[in-house]
């Protein structure tokens, strides 16, 4: 399966989501979603406004993937985060290799990381990192 390259409209369209974390909040049911949508996926309302996701949150759940696509060395720890101020984010947690390092409810923050490289162009996005105590 060949994917659209970084120099494509797909990636450019996602710049506001990926770099500025702009999602959508439903004015009717309050659900926060991502990427930006015109229709609320929960209640179907058309009353949507832009909402900037917070970069900090707590771990809702996680897993450590050992079967990764070609070009991506395992392990890849995947995480779903409850963001401060609402909304969830699915992504990868960096600087972690063991399941024991992550705890549900633990605090994490987003940091910019290199996510993929294609045709020599790097693709950046936010990954999570454990927040250090103190």
């Amino acid at each position: 399966m060949s994917a659209p390259a970084p120099a494509s409209p797909l990636f450019w369209r996602f710049n506001p989501e990926v770099y500025r974390l702009i999602g959508t909040k439903c004015k009717d049911c309050g659900h926060i979603t991502y990427p930006r949508k015109k229709i609320c996926p929960i209640c179907g309302s058309l009353n949507q406004e832009e909402h900037k996701l917070n970069r900090r949150g707590t771990v809702q759940t996680y897993c450590i993937n050992w079967t990764t696509p070609p070009g991506l060395e395992p392990p890849v720890p995947i995480i779903v985060v409850d963001l401060e101020g609402g909304g969830k984010y699915q992504g990868v947690i960096t600087e972690v290799t063991q399941a024991e390092e992550v705890k549900i409810g633990g605090k994490v923050e987003m940091v910019l990381r290199k996510v993929w490289t294609d045709r020599g162009i790097n693709i950046y996005g936010y990954k999570f990192r454990l927040v250090e105590e103190g």
């Binding site: 994917a3 759940t61 079967t67 779903v80 969830k88 699915q90 992504g91 693709i123």
Partner: protein
């Protein structure tokens, strides 16, 4: 739906790594077995429409399959054929469409056939294709998808299930032990060997907390069913099996829209609708074939379908309540875990098993039939946002 559709014949081929058989051969063999499965015989020309369940198509090297592909394979050039794809529940949905074809009154006799060829590519490649690779190929940004897909989504649920509901990795392994044990008695199962909890927990990690033996295999297979109007069924067999309810349920595919990670709304919706259609309740069901693509998924499915309250399934499993000779046998065929998961054929294979069990033709894996009602369930698709549930019965 209830009272309108009957199954007059089913047939399948043994599931497994069928390196010597291509997609076409498997589909033809399943179809031939299905025709033979009609007790009083049927002329293939009586079939007036067909639905072809085929999930992978171009994703893993089979080429995009359309309805015309099945027409050529079966020599059925005079009828309308549609290819159905709806994730892992492709089989359930293929069956559902064939039911709708009859229930609508447009066709008297329809065919549902599911076939999947997964083993022409190495396991990891088809697994990764199922996961969407790095994301851009699915219109997503790599930072949201990276390395995710099938096992990783269920693994996210598995972690949270342990945290919220108190089940353990041993409980997950126990599902594999039971399903493998059932598979030993099923001549159509992919794997026919026993496993122990220890062996499961020592198998390599696929996606923590899921080990290799927590995951269903990559399988080739095909299975089919012929349906007809309920009032015409006795022309073809004295033991028709009737469709009480056939439903598909939705949930969000994106994890950030999910409401929690211990239940799947797709299964909950599909089951609720199917029970309403059939005017029956979970307590009325004698046994069920549920979608155990991963061991933790089976526990979630049992609760989501409504067989027990949330968080109870692993306790009932520990008590042996889901074994073949117990109160509610689950996956007497061995489930996806042992019977295999040739994606589009899986649901159809489960339908075959439910039919054989209800007709009491399941040999040494026969379960006790009390109310004469069996349930079939699949869940999957992007983000596990689709589920299919079919409820079958000995009486209309």
């Amino acid at each position: 739906m209830r009272g309108k559709v009957a199954i007059i014949g089913v047939g399948m081929i043994p599931f497994g790594e069928l390196f010597e058989k291509g997609l076409e051969t498997m589909a033809q063999e399943a179809y031939i077995n299905c025709l033979k499965g009609v007790d009083k015989g049927i002329d293939p020309k009586e079939i007036k429409a067909a639905w072809f369940g085929q999930w992978s198509g171009g994703l893993i090297g089979q080429g995009t399959q359309g309805g015309s592909a099945l027409a050529s394979m079966l020599g059925q050039m005079e009828i309308p054929i549609t290819r159905v794809e709806n994730g892992c529940p492709t089989g359930s949905d293929t069956f559902r469409n064939a039911c709708l074809g009859v229930a609508s009154g447009v066709y008297d006799v329809t065919l549902a056939l599911g076939a999947e060829k997964m083993r022409d590519k190495p396991g990891v490649e088809s697994l990764v294709a199922a996961g969407g690779g790095t994301g851009a190929g699915m219109g997503m940004h790599p930072s949201w998808m990276l390395g995710g897909g099938g096992p990783s989504i269920q693994a996210l649920y598995a972690t949270r299930q342990m945290y919220e509901l108190g089940c353990t990795m041993e409980d997950y392994a126990r599902v594999a032990v039971l399903n493998h044990h059932n598979g030993v008695s099923c001549p159509y199962a992919h794997y026919r060997f026993e496993v122990t909890i220890e062996r499961v927990l020592n198998s390599p990690l696929v996606c923590w907390p899921l080990h290799l033996l927590d995951c269903c295999p990559q399988t080739d297979g095909a299975a089919a069913a012929i349906l007809c109007r309920a009032d015409l069924a006795k022309k073809y067999t004295d033991k028709p099996v009737y469709v009480l309810g056939s439903n598909i349920g939705m949930d969000h595919g994106n994890l950030w829209d999910k409401h929690n990670f211990i239940e799947m709304l797709s299964t909950i919706r599909a089951a609720k609708g199917a029970f309403e259609m059939g005017r029956v309740k979970p307590e009325d069901v004698d046994f069920a074939e549920v979608h155990d693509c991963f061991t933790n998924t089976e526990l979630m499915n049992i609760e989501d379908i409504g067989f027990c309250p949330k968080g109870e399934a692993h306790k009932l499993l520990r008590e042996g309540q889901f074994e073949r000779d117990a109160r509610l046998p689950i996956n007497p065929s061995g489930g996806l875990k042992a019977h295999g998961h040739p994606i589009a054929a899986t649901g159809m294979g489960q339908i075959c098993e439910v039919v054989w069990q209800l007709r009491e033709e399941a040999d040494e894996r026969q379960v006790k039939i009390k109310n004469g009602i069996g349930l079939q369930h699949n869940v999957g698709g992007p983000g596990f946002g689709v589920s299919g549930v079919n409820i079958l019965s000995r009486s209309p």
